[in-house]
Amino acid sequence: MKEVKTYPIYGVMAEFETPHALILATKAAYGAGYRVMDAYTPFPIEEVSEVIGFHRKDNKVPLATLIGGILGGIGGFSLASLASSSWYPLNIAGRPLIPWPAFIPVTFECTILLAGLSCAFGMLAMNGFPQPYHPVFNVPSFSRASNDRFFLCIEARDPKYDESSVMDLLRKSDATEVTRVDG
């Protein structure tokens, strides 16, 4: 007997034509008690992440940047100082082995370099990139999420998740289409 392969359900996805409709629907979903959800937009809309419950304090990119910058600064200055004072000391007319003003450019550049790299790679890592597969791409119309449509997905992981009630909730909004997302 041929077995029918079944996929787990990822959630329910609604498509909107305007950012405004998306924001209203997200507010409604949040008000109804759903927490595990995500919105997908072609460009950043700050209000959407606010209503979805992703606040500024949840964003750890600045922290990663700061740590990288501090490490880079300490590292750059230590590198220059150690190289000139212990690894390869050159006594030139008794001048100091660690002339700190001369090390500022290198310290500065290392600060920027490490801060920048930890900012960029930190952002990518926190976003979970690179991520070759994600269930939301199973929704056929999702290709417009990078063009001119706005999507809201309430995920099955949500403790309150119940497919029919989520569908009802989203159908009541201005959604042009509501689809189930296969995992």
Binding site: D38, A39, Y40, T41, P42, F43, P44, I45, E46, V48, S49, I52, F54, D58, N59, K60, V61, P62, T65, G76, L79, A80, A83, S84, W87, Y88, L90, P99, A102, F103, P105, V106, F108, E109, C110, I112, L113, A115, G116, L117, C119, A120, G122, M123, L124, M126, N127, F129, P130, Q131, P132, Y133, H134, V136, F137, S143, A145, S146, N147, D148
Partner: protein, 468 residues
């Protein structure tokens, strides 16, 4: 769309009547539609030919050594370092547009930002070739970096040349990272719009699986702002450090404290000239007039005028410091030699190119004339190259001891290497224009969205006023 907010008697930043979809379509079609325009192949042929010359010249150099260039005592730094400084300077406008103008909330920067950021990377790539090959043994160029080695030798961290290695390599890395991060969402758009599976896979891999999640956007925007904030002092530091290469030296004409600000202003000046040189034909040939409007060209021309005046001010101050203030006979002779010596033509030509030419930009009429603007930009590019040549090479021809004076004459390999980097730059630019979205689509859409939202507020505001 309501363009009233942006349209205060000026040309809008985005032409009227665009929706999210038309923005995506117009920009991504340049890349995804089959059929490369004929002019592209023509330009690619030119770029490729020059690039071949570069490869040839560098191959000969690797076999024979730097002696094939015109560099010799006393002019040890000549076209190579001139070209290095010139290219690095050109790169600076890209970072200025993408980072500093982002922090200053200059919305008009959006449509030219990615384009100029790409220009930065390609210009830095061209610049990097010169010092690496000037070492004479490019296969040992890694000695510039502080790597533990069996010889127990370390770079001299008190030297501006080592600072330069750190500044330029940091600049190159950060520019690539900033540019790539900026591209990710648009690469996602390209993936979603591509028809062929292979193209879809390539853009899909490059976009890392970007799906526009609002949480991702939130971190993404923070990262972009922070990168812009980091690039802003970086770009100022890079040309400052480049100018230290000279200012810390004791050669008359190099040993000058005004070099850092003077070099940074010159860098921005030449960079904007290069952006205009590229943007004017590109917008015409790819029909991007809707996104790179005359407003952009006008603004860039104004920045060019302003930085041109700063550069002119520095030109006026150099003789003042040299002749009047320093009281140093070597400095005085240097200025005399520059203005009336054997290379005086170059000096007056550079004054003509860099100080006189930009004065035409006071006229609004000329600023809105793309042909005139293109010609002025080319002249400024030439002028800035001459400026670097005059500072670097001509200062070296006659220093303290008349017995050690000399002259500089470029060889065919100097010329081929320089034109070769122009070819490399052109080739990379053409590949970029055809292979990647040259205008940030998501940022333009965010701007459109912002405008409609503002227009909405304005309407509400008017109604409220009427009610009062």
């Amino acid at each position: 769309m309501d363009a009233r907010k942006l349209d205060f008697g000026q040309v809008p930043i985005i032409a009227r009547g665009h929706t999210f979809d038309t923005v995506t379509e117009k920009i991504s079609d340049i890349v995804l539609k089959s059929g490369t325009p004929k002019w592209w192949f023509g330009a690619f042929l030119v770029g490729g030919a020059l690039l071949t010359g570069l490869l040839f010249a560098l191959t000969v150099l690797v076999f024979k050594g730097v002696g094939i260039w015109g560099n010799n005592q006393p002019v040890g730094w000549a076209w190579d370092i001139t070209n290095f400084v010139w290219w690095i300077g050109i790169g600076h406008a890209g970072t200025l547009i993408s980072a500093i103008l982002l922090l200053l909330k200059q919305e008009w920067r959006t449509s030219i930002s990615r384009f100029s950021e790409a220009m930065t990377i390609f210009a830095v790539a061209c610049a990097g070739i010169f010092p690496v090959f000037h070492t004479g043994r490019p296969w040992l160029a890694y000695w510039l970096f502080p790597l533990p080695n069996t010889m127990g030798v370390w770079p001299q961290f008190r030297s501006p040349l080592v600072w330069d290695v750190f500044a330029v390599s940091t600049y190159a890395t950060m520019s690539i990272v900033f540019w790539y991060v900026g591209l990710i969402p648009d690469l996602g758009t390209m993936r979603d719009r591509a028809k062929s599976t292979l193209v879809k896979k390539i853009y899909g891999a490059l976009s890392m699986g970007w799906r526009g999640s609002t949480k991702h956007w939130s971190r993404y925007e923070t990262a972009c702002l922070l990168l812009a904030g980091l690039c802003t002092p970086l770009v100022v530091s890079v040309h400052t450090v480049v100018s230290f290469d000279f200012a810390v030296g004791i050669i008359p004409g190099w040993h000058t404290t005004i070099f850092p600000p003077y070099f940074v202003a010159g860098a921005v000046y030449s960079g904007f000239a290069m952006v205009l040189t590229l943007a004017i034909p590109a917008r015409k040939l790819f029909h991007l007039e809707d996104f790179i409007t005359t407003r952009h060209l006008d603004n860039m021309a104004k920045v060019m005028l302003a930085t041109g005046l700063i550069v002119g001010y520095a030109y006026a101050f150099e003789p003042f410091f040299g002749i009047v203030y320093s009281g140093n006979k070597y400095e005085r002779f240097l200025m005399y030699n520059r203005m009336f010596g054997p290379y005086a033509t170059f000096y007056w030509l550079l004054v003509l190119c860099n100080v006189v030419t930009p004065q035409f930009l006071w006229s609004r009429k000329l600023r809105s004339n793309t042909v005139a603007l293109f010609i002025i930009a080319i002249i400024v590019n030439v002028g800035m190259w001459l400026e670097r040549f005059v500072i670097i090479a001509i200062s070296l021809t006659r220093d303290f001891l008349p017995s050690s004076w000399g002259a500089f004459k470029p060889t065919i390999f100097d010329i081929m290497t320089f034109t070769g980097t122009l070819g490399l730059f052109l080739t990379l630019m053409l590949l970029f224009l055809r292979g990647l979205p040259s205008i940030p689509m998501f940022e333009l859409k965010a701007m459109l969205h912002g405008e409609t939202a503002e227009g909405h507020d304005e309407v509400v505001g008017l109604e409220a006023e009427a009610a009062v």
